[in-house]
């Protein structure tokens, strides 16, 4: 059953099909670009609600996605957070905000630690290829962050403090987070404002050494949204977002000098969104993002100015049992990067000289409802200013079998193409370390990375004794064959000619990723259990295992509602079976686990508190082993105790 805006409200309250009227049901958009109930989406979607997010996060999305089965959360070299899905690394998982892309910091993927959680309504996680609807990078999956659209008038403040306990840099260090969330209807305009400040002192495993394990950070988020509903379901929305991040971490003593080298990162990001839509029938969204970053070691800082502009228009036709979604996207990326001058009076070294790429993209996806079953087919074509035409297609099928009012079987099958467009850095980078004998150069002849993926998922839903009790079992098998992965390889001719080791981005790598995800959820009203297991086998063209990916992952969650409206959440993550990179000389630890606990309570309609412990057993990497070139898959993490309180004025 498709949910158009006209029936959307009815869908919540009046769905007679027991299997579809569960309190667990969520509305999702990512698989179809139109609203549909989670269980009826022909593409499997996982959801984190705003309530869950407040329990799991510490102000940003970092770490919160570790809750989702099959998602592998990673902390990257810039102390940002990214995710892997179905064996694809962070560069091949697309992060969207309201179905439009975000900017990746220079040399990295979108950092989930740069996304605040205050005005997020839910997060939708699509596993598998989705380039037909979302274009570049949607190879391993899509994480679509859905911001709050409509909200009752309210004003809420929250304060939370935290400590890294035995890993504090100074014993008195306390992390602090302050949130303000307000929404008010003013002259027919629904206005919302959220402010957030996060002050994290960082942590250090060994305070006797100069190097610091995790940086101190100071983040600010400001979100402002105005929207107005006109006649005929016409809605205009304006949104401005500001983000700043100031990061610092001591790294080394300067050889032969008294001072120290620190890693520094200063980021400022502005985002402006303008949207106009008539219900779901058509909409036009524009986005402009400017990301300015100064980062690097203090003796080698780089300035990057990254811009993204996109206009995304979409039209939806409903003809009987057929729904057709078509869209047209204009997209532009710009990048300028310069290595700062080392002496006054000299100019910096331009590494990417104000380069840009433009693309025009069009897509169409048709869904055909046949009784309880649904067929989905789509295609996307893209013309890029650099590499010309590229296209992708996919087909998905959903078979639903309602055994009884309580039981339902579903089978989802999908085959899809996906691709990733070379970044401006991969095309135009000039990294000059010739005094040490090497350079890394971009390659303007790169073509998109591509993959063909298949997913097969079987789901069993059983409404137990009441509508509040449900058992859900699912098995998902996935297989992807990717080619033309972009890696840096030695340019033999250039190296021979220059006498330097010249590495150049090239389309070389092939990979095969296959795996299995098993998930069981049991909801008993006041107690919810979830247990999942993921298996991954990822190899390159020569059959060698891809590094830095767990073969086995287990996640277990227990969400318990105690008396006095106290909620308890326990979740466990266990991973093992990662393989070292070619540069790593051995294995220190290829398995890790983390146990997280939290308790929260609404004392009345105004007061709410939360407290908990992340990484209870303080499992973390051995930095000495990392420095010695060993694989240690345990994250750069620390036990953290936290407590917060919020007050809702109205």
């Amino acid at each position: 059953m498709k949910l158009t805006p006209l029936v959307l409200s009815l869908a919540f309250c009046c769905m007679v099909d027991v299997a579809r009227s569960s309190t667990m049901e969520q509305i999702v958009v990512t698989g179809t670009r139109s609203t549909i109930s989670q269980s009826q989406s022909p593409v499997s979607i996982d959801v984190i609600s705003a309530v869950q997010l407040q329990k799991l996060s510490h102000g940003t999305l970092a770490g919160a996605l570790n809750y989702i089965p099959g998602v592998v959360a990673k902390r990257n070299a810039k102390d940002g957070y990214t995710v892997q899905m179905q064996g694809f690394d962070e560069n091949h998982v697309l992060i969207l905000l309201d179905s439009q892309p975000l900017i990746s910091p220079t040399g990295s993927a979108v950092d989930l630690d740069q996304i605040g959680v205050v005005d997020i309504e839910r997060i939708e996680v699509l596993r598998g290829a989705a380039s037909v609807l979302y274009g570049s990078s949607a190879m391993g999956g899509v994480i679509n962050i859905i911001s709050r659209k409509q909200s009752k008038d309210h004003l809420k403040v929250k304060y939370q403090s935290s400590s890294y306990t035995n890993n504090n840099i100074d014993s008195a260090d306390v992390g602090q987070q302050l949130q303000l969330d307000a929404s008010q209807n003013i002259l027919g305009w629904q206005s919302s404002l959220s402010l957030q400040k996060i002050d994290d002192p960082g942590f250090d495993y060994d305070t006797k050494t100069v190097s610091q394990s995790a940086p101190s950070t100071d983040k600010h988020f400001v979100n402002l949204r105005l929207s107005k509903q006109f006649e005929d379901s016409l809605e205009l929305s304006l949104k401005a977002r500001y983000f700043s991040d100031d990061k610092q971490k001591q790294r080394y003593v300067i050889p032969g000098q008294a001072g120290e080298i620190s890693y520094l990162s200063q980021v400022e990001q502005w985002q402006y969104d303008l949207g106009l839509n008539q219900g779901e029938f058509w909409r036009v969204q524009g986005r402009y993002l400017n990301h300015q970053e100064t980062s690097g070691d203090s003796n080698s800082l780089r300035d990057a100015d990254i811009k993204l502009a996109e206009i995304d228009s979409q039209y939806l036709w409903n003809i009987s049992e057929i729904e057709l979604v078509s869209g047209f996207v204009l997209h532009r990326d710009e990048l300028y990067q310069v290595k700062q001058a080392s002496e006054e009076g000299t100019s910096g070294t331009v590494e990417i000289d104000d380069k840009a790429r433009d693309s025009i993209e069009g897509y169409s996806q048709l869904s055909w409802q046949i009784a309880d079953h649904e067929v989905l087919a789509g295609i996307r074509a893209q013309h890029d200013s650099e590499f010309g035409w590229h296209s992708a297609a996919r087909v998905n099928v959903l078979f639903s079998f309602v055994e009884t009012q309580q039981q339902q079987w579903q089978l989802r099958m999908g085959v899809g193409q996906s691709y990733r467009v070379p970044t401006l850095k991969e095309r135009f980078y000039i990294f000059d370390h010739s005094n040490l004998g090497y350079m890394v150069l971009g390659n303007d002849q790169l073509k998109p990375e591509t993959a063909v993926s298949t997913n097969l998922e079987a789901t069993y839903l059983n409404q137990l004794n009441s509508s509040k009790q449900q058992l859900s079992l699912s098995v998902n098998a996935h297989y992807a064959r990717a080619k033309d992965f972009i890696e840096t390889v030695t340019d033999v001719d250039a190296s021979a000619a220059s006498g330097l080791l010249i590495s150049r981005y090239s389309n070389v790598e092939q990979a095969v990723m296959k795996g299995l995800d098993l998930s069981a959820k049991l909801s008993l009203g006041k107690v919810n259990y979830q247990l999942s297991y993921s298996y991954l086998h990822a190899t390159d063209h020569s059959g060698e295992h891809l590094s830095d990916r767990p073969t086995h992952q287990i996640k277990a969650n227990l969400d318990w509602q105690f008396p006095f409206d106290i909620h308890g959440l326990i979740y466990l993550v266990y991973e093992n079976g990662s393989y070292p990179t070619e540069q790593q000389v051995g294995v220190e630890k290829d398995a890790w686990s983390s146990l997280n606990l939290s308790l929260s309570q609404s004392l009345n309609k105004n007061w709410h508190w939360i407290a908990g412990v992340d990484n209870v057993f303080d499992n973390h990497q051995n930095t000495d082993a990392i420095a010695a070139g060993l694989l240690d898959v345990r994250p750069l993490s620390s036990r953290r105790v936290f407590a917060g309180i919020s007050y809702q004025f109205y």
């Binding site: 050889p255 001072g259 080298i261 070691d297 070294t349 370390h433 030695t490 033999v492």
Partner: protein, 373 residues
Amino acid sequence: MKKYTIPALSLLAIMSGCGSSSSDPVDEIEVIPEVEEVVEEGVIFGPFSTGTSSEPKSVYFDLETGAVLELTDEAAATDSQWDIAFKRTEVSLNTHTDNTVGTYFSTINSDFYDDAGNAISDMFLNATADAELDNYLAVGVIDLPTEDDYSYDSEEYIVGDKFYNYDLTTHQVSAADDVYFVVSSDNAYTKFRAKSLTTSGRTLATITLGIQHQSALDGETEFAEEFELELDAVSCDTGIYVDFDLAEPVSQDDAWDIQLPCLTDSGVTGADFQIFIADEASALVDTTNSYLGVDSEAEQYYGFKSNLTEVKAFTANPWYQYNLNDGHLLWSQYGVYLIKTNTANYKLQVTSYYDESGISGNYSFRFDAISTD
């Protein structure tokens, strides 16, 4: 090396008179400063910037005056005043005939490397300029090497005269048939050696080369069987040229890979005892016949060099180790170089490649003259 002049007190009593009369003037004492030169050893000079990776610049240093000389590279090529030059990681010594500077690397801090020659990271990472001062100060005249032990910057031909042996007692020349040369040229690799040769007077009359060819373009990964190519140099006029692809002598205008120049001595014409490779070619010396072929993807790791190569004396004993703690930094071994100029002997210890902000390419070092008096 810093020199200070400090006043020393000496008393010069000037007696203006004798006697004990109370009216006698008081003895007048005049203090005359006497200048004594004190040399403070181990003072660190610098940092001196050698530019950036993309815009490197040379710092020419005169050890005698302890000063940087403002010289362009062109002027420095004919200047005899500077002694040592720094340009990013490259350290050069003056080769001017009026000031040919040599260096000898002492054994100070040789324990920073294990028996296999691998850097012991902790030794480098924990060493500081202050802690290594005593080692530096301990180096003195007793550590000066003999003249023959000094190394100098030089140029050499990659093949040059290495293909033959000269017996100093019999004055006989013979082919060094155990010395192989691998030449990279025209997308192919060729390993060759001199298998035999004959002389005529002081010229080379004939030479037989053993040649093994590997065409990377044809996908070959190993050298082919060796074949012989005999070259007759008696009628040498513009030189003997060989194209390895064709496996035969060619003319000067063809795509030759190696060349033997002509030599006429005492009316006898032949080839000189030198072999040069083409400008666009590169080569390496294989004294153990260890190369079965060249992996074209890894060519840059083999150490191929052009026909004429600068050989820096410091390269044999670099002062640093790179990237010991994954920070892409250069760490000094705090080794002590003994340096001989045309006028004096010095010791020198590089203490840092960074300024106080950690900017690379900024040399700091200590140096002092070693008096042999």
